[in-house]
Amino acid sequence: MIVYILRRIGQSLFALAAMAILVFIGVFAIGNPVDILVNPEANQAEIAATTARLGLDKPLWEQFARFVGHLFQGDLGTSFVYGRPAMEIILQRLPATMELAVTALILAVVIGVPLGVYAGLKPDSIGGRSVMAGSILGFSLPNFWQGLLLILIFAVLLGWLPAGGRGETVEVLGIRVSFLTLDGLRHMILPALNLALFKMSLVIRLTRANTREVCLQEYIKFARAKGLSSTRIVLVHILKNIMIPVVTILGLELGSMIAFAVVTETVFAWPGMGKLLIDSINLLDRPVIVAYLMLTVVIIVTINLIVDLLYSALDPRVRLSQVKA
């Protein structure tokens, strides 16, 4: 087991290193890094100063060593727009994004799993078919378009919920959160739902497929032959089996949710790091873009690592084979 964990951590470090190299190539090796890292409005003297400071006149390998060194210190340059370290600005926006992503993930599971199980148990019923049709729709509607429709319906036509912004926030342990105030919650419903819908469809389809698969297994019939109630069969025998793939996928999807938050945050003007990224792209504030990329890569690699370890803890079969290995 320890061997497995170590090997898995090694793989994660490999992924991080690979991404760092790719970013380095993207920023330093291809094109002129001065264009990327120096404020476009700077004059010649400033450019020369920055070039020297960043060591852009040094050989490539030395530049890379420097880049990695800065990376370990979390130093990814200074924002042209804000004039502060890019990492600091990103980290400031991180809680808002995480709050949104986690809420959306919870919504996707809490709504998606029961619907998927239902559609799996009764695949031919009207209810089951509607759930599936709905999930195809949820799958097909691009994220930003769902967001626009939500705004159009709930904010513009019905006027029930605000169309954007984060609303009132409270500070908990130095982090500003929305979900503890009524106003914050009202602001969070639409973006969280928007971010959740796509994953919800995924969860529904996955849960349904697995439920159907598990239902055909002999052990379900045997469980029925033991005289168990259908509630127990569904809640224990089926759910326990389908939770393994669902948890795996969902863990991996948390990473993609953070990435997709870019879209939702833009649509709903949610002040997270995704919105910051789009603003930075429009303002050509490249150090922030690079910082966003590196931070997201670290988050995703970490999540993937945790999910893999969690997976082996959940499935007794995997656990055993790894002990043997």
């Binding site: 097909s140 879209v263 833009t266 990224l277 789009i278 429009n282 995703i300």
Partner: protein, 311 residues
């Protein structure tokens, strides 16, 4: 021609008919057509493709020929008549007096163009890499699959967005970005089915005949990996359309001079809150119908090709 000759000519075809009906393609087609939703999806998709191809012939105006635009017609709701020509704007106009129907037809062209071109390149690269990985195995396999795993562990939108943020806008750049985020799916799909095929006897036989590597790979191995590839390709083309639309919506995709559906939606976004819903809504509906149609077809193909669900 005598009656005898006719019947004589017909007889063999009559006996051959049950055989023809059993050919794999016909059987798959038959199974496919059993699902009404999938047929609707297929018809809809064909229609969309035709509309996109013939857009210049169908569209009431060329939305990017400024001479044809009339600012006086700006912001008209659907069904309004033009102030100057008297023509009807069935889906309304944007603030510059552009006919939305025409804009959508032209936008559809760009969206489908980007998706299909990137699809073709991604398949070409992915299939080559996947087949090579499966066929040669060993170091080549682990090198290619490491790249695939690395690629797939990061969300496509993240990679594409960053690439375009560094490169700037452009139809060609969007296509390259889409190829980069998509090739890995094909490589993985082809490799996993090719590895199963590569162990079978007929590949062994091909080796014994001393056929060249490329001939075995592309003439023998690949055709047997087609079903999963087709399914993944339908899913991916829908994904590509959605991804391009998203990138353009975020302002990192196609340039304003060549607006795809996503960019049209983004342009209308600001008017959404002020009640001019049609500028954003109709391009959105066109986008959604296209994607839904492809997904319906893809869903059915998955069932058709799945031997476990066949009776």
């Amino acid at each position: 021609m005598s009656d005898d000759a006719l019947t004589a000519g017909l007889a063999p075809t009559a006996t051959a008919e049950p055989l023809a009906a059993d050919s794999p393609f016909k059987r798959l087609l038959h199974t496919f057509l059993e699902d009404k939703l999938a047929v609707i999806g297929l018809v809809l998709f064909t229609l969309v493709v035709l509309l996109a191809i013939f857009a210049p012939l169908i569209a009431p105006q060329n939305p990017y020929d400024l001479a044809q635009l009339d600012v006086l017609d700006g912001g008209l709701p659907p069904g309004s008549a033009s102030m100057s020509t008297g023509g009807i704007y069935y889906l309304g106009t944007d603030e510059q007096g552009r006919d939305m129907l025409s804009a959508i037809l032209y936008g559809l062209r760009i969206s489908l163009l980007v998706a299909t071109v990137s699809l073709a390149f991604a398949i070409a690269i992915g299939v080559t890499a996947g087949t090579m990985a499966a066929y040669f195995g060993g170091k080549i396999d682990s090198l290619i699959m490491r790249m695939v795993d690395l690629q797939l562990s990061f969300p496509a939108i993240l990679i594409a967005l960053i690439l375009l943020a560094l490169w700037g806008r452009g139809v060609d750049k969007v296509i390259i970005a889409l190829v980069i985020v998509q090739w890995a799916y094909y490589a993985r799909t082809v490799r996993s089915s090719a590895i199963v095929e590569a162990r079978k006897d007929y590949i062994e036989a091909a080796h014994c005949l001393a056929l060249s590597h490329s001939r075995i790979m592309f003439h023998h191995l690949l055709p047997n990996c087609l079903p999963p590839l087709i399914v993944v390709a339908t899913v991916q083309i829908a994904q590509a359309i959605a991804l391009e639309a998203t990138l353009s919506f975020l302002g990192a995709g196609v340039p304003i001079t060549e607006p795809s559906l996503g960019l049209l939606i983004a342009n209308g976004y600001n008017y959404l809150l002020s009640g001019r819903y049609w500028v954003s809504l109709f391009p959105g509906i066109a986008l959604v119908l296209t994607i839904v149609a492809i997904n319906l077809v893809g869903d059915r193909l998955r069932d058709v090709f799945n031997p476990r669900l066949q009776k």
